[in-house]
Each structure stands twice: as C-alpha cells, then as structure tokens.
C-alpha cells in the first residue's frame, strides 16, 4: 500500500513537471498559421508519430493517403497526400497545421488536434453523451511534437 502510494506520487510529480514546461492549448501562439516554438521542449519521436497516423486519437489516414504507411489499409482521400509534407512545409508550419489547421486553412474540414475550447455540443468521446469536466485535446503536446517529427521525415529526395 505504502509503496503503491509512493509510485503514484512520483508519477504525479512527473506529470506536473512535464506540464510546467508545456504550452497549454489555450496559450499557443500562431503566426501565419505556424507555431515557431516546440510545445514541450522535448524532441519529437518519429516512430511514435508514425503510429498516430493510424486509428486512435490521430487517425490521419481516415482522410489522408500516406504511401510511407502503405501497410495501413483503406486510406482516405479527403485531404491531400502526406508524402512530401516535409518538403512542402517548415517544422513550424507543420506544428501549426497539426495543432489547429483552421489557422492555416480557413474553414478546413481537418479537426483541430490541440484545442480545448469553442466546441458546439462537445461529446464524451464517441459515446454520444455530453462531455463533463476538463477537456483534453485530441492529441497531447508531446504527441503533436511526435507527429511533427514524423511528418518532417516525409521528404521525396
């Protein structure tokens, strides 16, 4: 019992530390749709970012084709293909697009992955019920950084 509590305390402390250096969704500064600074100060993990392309919170392939992820079946075609994204955009621009694409492309269908306010009839996940309590963004700050790091590897040369 005592030991379990100790572990929990360390975890809580760890989470608090991570949060202290994190830019909160409501504090993010966009410039021409881009976010210059890392949201966490911790370098993104390319492999973790690649996993977020699949079903789960990210599910990017629902709307985008990614030939680099050709093992994922049924890729959507609502948005442009993501291969070459690292050539077309800077890291800051990609961070802005993933965090809140509506800042770069007005009225886009792409969901805002690092946003916690301004929703209409926010639900409790996919239950169809009403949301209660604090709102978590679709992706955490570090997940945004991971995704950006992965997208930066999608270059043609």
């Amino acid at each position: 019992m005592k030991r379990a509590l100790g572990v929990a305390a360390v975890l809580v402390l760890g989470a608090a530390q991570a949060q202290a250096s994190e830019v909160k969704p409501t504090d993010v500064k966009f410039e021409d749709g881009a976010i210059a600074m890392s949201l966490t100060g911790v370098a993104g993990d390319v492999e973790a970012g690649a996993k977020i392309m699949n079903k789960g919170a990210g599910n990017c392939v629902a709307c985008h084709m990614i030939e680099d992820q050709s093992q994922l079946a049924f890729q959507g075609e609502i948005g442009p293909m993501l291969d070459g994204a690292g050539d077309r955009w800077s890291e800051a621009e990609l961070r802005g697009i993933v965090a809140n694409a509506k800042m770069m492309f007005e009225g886009t269908m792409m969901p805002s992955f690092y946003k916690t306010e301004g929703f209409i009839r926010l639900g409790n996940g996919y239950t169809g019920k009403s949301h209660e309590g604090d709102v978590a963004p679709l992706l955490t700050a570090q997940e945004i950084e991971d995704v950006v790091a992965y997208l930066m590897t999608l270059k043609y040369e």
Binding site: D32, I78, W89, P111, R121, L122, G123
Partner: protein, 284 residues
C-alpha cells in the same frame, strides 16, 4: 499565402492519388427493382439546394455486390421485416381493439405517403415525421402503446409503408407552416458539431464521392430509409442514422424524435426531392 505556395505541389499528389482509386463519385449503374420499378437515382437538384447541381441516391455509391441486394425483392434481406409488418398491420391491438387495417384497409392505401413526409399536421399544429404519425395512430386511434422511435416495430412498419411508394419521387413541402422548421433543420445541417467540428455538409455535401477511411461517402440522402445494413443486419431508421453520424463527430447527439432531429429530417428529406422513394434499401 503558404496555402497558394503549396497547392500546385499538392495537386500533383492529388493526381497520383486519383489514379490509385477504384471508386470516385457516384457510379453509372441504374436501379430497376424486380425488373419493374424504375428508380430515379440521379436528378437535378431542386432550387433550394444552393451548393449542389445533381442529386444521387446513396445506392449509387455502393459496391456492385451491395447494390445487387436491392435489385430484387427476393434478394433484399429487408423484405422479411416488411412481411412481419404486414402481419402487424392486420393485428388488432390496444384498448380500441383496432388494427391499422381497421381504418386504412390494405397497406397499398399508403401509396404516396412516404414521399411527402415529414409534413405539416394542421390539427396538431406541428411538423410530423412518419414515425410520429404512426405513433399518433397507435395512441389516439388504437389506444395502444407508442412504439420506440427507432425500434424494430417502427422500422418494420415504415419499411412496409415505404414499399408501396417505391419509385415515386420524394416531394416534401418546405414552405408555408413548415418554413421555420426547415430553416432550423438547415442550420443544424451546416453546424460543425463536436470535438471534430464536422457538419453534415462537410461529409455529405463537400466530400461525397470520396473515401473517408473505408467508407465511400454518399450525399447522405434519406430516400432509401429504412435501410437494411449488412453491417448490423437489421433495419435502420433515419434518426438512428443521424444519431450515429453526429456521435462520430465526438458530439453530444440529439435524441431520436427530438425537435432538432425532426427539423433536420425535414431539411435532409427536402435535399432529396426528386429522387425516388427506395425504402427499404440495402447499404453496407
């Protein structure tokens, strides 16, 4: 600005993507049920449609295998439910000891009804969906309990009432006493709900013909309801489908039968004015 910089590069990606496609847009197939009922699956959009020129039935977006189920009633898995409803039609229920047949004779007296609902009911002073009308008959005329709005009994009965209107064009009124409800439905259609901030229009007006993961998006028309879905092997009602689509935006949905969904149904039905009543249709 960064937007323009990339569009030319992106369009290259789009061309590559397109060539890899099996499906795009609606196909060219024609729906004639039982070699007899010619369905209008493509029609000029009515004047009140601001952003679309052509209407397509959801049938035109399904695979050949799925389409085939709907081309002959012997192959249509929904027809067993229609048969069940025929029995219920003739079965007396409730304190008045009456059946639908006591007042309406045979089901084919309902020909044309499906095509004009939801519609204004003068006595009640309200817009009524067909579900509301059926339940009104059960409660007021038969002294029987109302059916669950999206339940099996209701879906079966609506399937029966639809079959006798198959082939007739959808033709719901949008003016006069229903105008306000129609406007409300339109507003809901274009509202971006939930954490994913998606409106009906995002998927069914802006993106129909495209794949969203494994799903080939249609115009989200309701002329084919109730719909037998191979996925859940039962009949699905209009409001159950609305609920599912709103839930998928990570939103707090409206309840089946709520004023919001009644308004949305009137609006969506009017977006299909000109397409044939197809219910019960088959979808995946």
């Amino acid at each position: 600005m960064s937007y323009t910089r990339t569009t030319s590069l992106l369009s290259l990606g789009m061309v590559l993507a397109m060539s890899a496609l099996v499906w795009a847009d609606a196909d060219d197939d024609q729906l004639i049920v039982n070699d007899e009922i010619e369905m209008i699956t493509e029609a000029a959009a009515p004047d009140h449609m601001e952003n679309l020129d052509t209407l397509y039935s959801g049938w035109r977006f399904r695979s050949d295998e799925t389409q085939a189920f709907q081309m002959d009633d012997f192959d249509n898995p929904a027809m067993v439910f229609v048969e069940k409803a025929e029995e219920v039609w003739n079965t007396a229920e409730g304190s008045e000891g009456k059946a639908c047949a006591s007042c309406h004779d045979a089901p084919d007296t309902m020909a044309g009804v499906r095509a004009v609902y939801p519609k204004w009911n003068e006595d009640a002073g309200e817009v009524r969906t067909l579900e509301m009308q059926v339940n009104n008959c059960r409660e007021e005329q038969m002294g029987a309990e109302a059916w669950k709005y999206t339940g099996g009994d209701m879906a079966n009965m609506l399937a029966l009432i639809s079959t006798v209107s198959r082939g007739l064009p959808m033709n719901v009124a949008i003016d006069g006493p229903v105008a306000e409800t129609w406007e409300k439905g339109k507003e809901i259609y274009y509202t971006r709900f939930g954490q994913l901030e998606l409106s009906c229009a995002n998927c069914h007006e802006d993106s129909y013909g495209q794949m969203i993961r494994a799903d080939h998006l249609s115009q989200g028309q309701i002329n084919g309801f109730p719909t037998y879905r191979l996925k859940n092997t039962k009949l699905n009602t209009v409001h159950a489908r609305f609920k599912g689509c709103v839930r998928d935006t990570r939103a707090h949905t409206f309840a089946p039968g709520s004023p919001e969904f009644v308004a949305l149904e009137l609006y969506v039905a009017s977006r299909g004015n000109g397409l044939s009543v197809e219910g019960p249709s088959v979808r995946n």
